[in-house]
Amino acid sequence: MCVDTNGDTGVGLLGDPTRRAIFELLARNPSSVRELAERLPVSRPAVSQHLRVLKDGGLVVSRAEGTRRVYQLNPVGVNALRTYLDRIWDEALLAFHKAAVAANSKPNQEQ
């Protein structure tokens, strides 16, 4: 329903359930690949691959912390907020569609 003119950013990036789970985990706690893999039913390479996509999309950044690399939501970009708003409008328009159809069908039923 939502026309995403931005290719793989926005809703597209979180369309994958595992990627969405990673995004949610990072929203609460900056984590390493290992920590993410421990909390999810996927392998470390799979986690790494999803993280790369999230990084390329600007939702996530990483930093070195000693010997490990820690991932977190991108604190300076606004892509995370944009993604959130995108989802809000998706849901809102779906609800509007239902309401409009319902409003229009009422008079017909009375006739």
Binding site: T5, E24, R28, V78, A80, W89, D90, A92, L93
Partner: protein
């Protein structure tokens, strides 16, 4: 802080109703369809309102009677178009500074006597206070973010089934 270039969000939906009906439901009956979880006041939301005129308020009224602004009506051209500001930042709070306001334009086009396409464009998102505050809001654990995402997921799945 300079304005960040963020692509606009564009949504489109086609409904089998006349254009006047689509505009009326979207604006005058805004409260009847806007998802209840998307609100910014402390109390639960009782009503969400778009005042039908240029310069009108877009706001919510909580169950305790308190009011929270969301934005202002910039253009009012029924039944074809209206524009409102979206001044809700990443911390899910109203930001009164107009220089940090994003804008939502809604266009209605009649595809036929009983068919209307509604296009929503949410632009200037880069003006909003961004994901730094969003990140903090999430980290502070209001608990709303994961549940919101879960609901989104549910809706998306249901949407796919249709």
């Amino acid at each position: 802080m300079s304005e960040l270039s963020v692509p606009a969000i564009r949504g489109k939906v086609t409904v089998d109703v006349p254009i006047e009906c689509a505009f009326d439901v979207f604006t005058n009956s805004f409260d009847s369809w806007w998802p209840r979880e998307f609100h910014i006041g402390q109390p639960d939301i009782a009503e969400a309102i778009i005042e039908p005129r240029e310069g009108g308020r877009w706001y919510e009224r909580g169950v305790d009677g308190s009011e929270c602004d969301w934005g202002r009506v910039l253009a009012w051209e029924p039944p074809h178009r209206f524009v409102v500001t979206w001044q809700i930042n990443g911390q899910w709070q109203f930001d009164p500074d107009p220089s940090r306001a994003s804008e939502v334009e809604v266009l209605f086009a009649a595809d036929g006597p009983e068919r209307t396409t509604v296009e929503v464009t949410h632009q200037y998102i880069g003006r909003l206070e961004g994901s730094q505050v969003l990140y903090e809001a999430i980290s502070e654990g209001s608990g709303s973010w994961p549940s919101l995402l879960a609901r989104f997921e549910k809706a998306a799945v249901e949407q796919d089934k249709v």
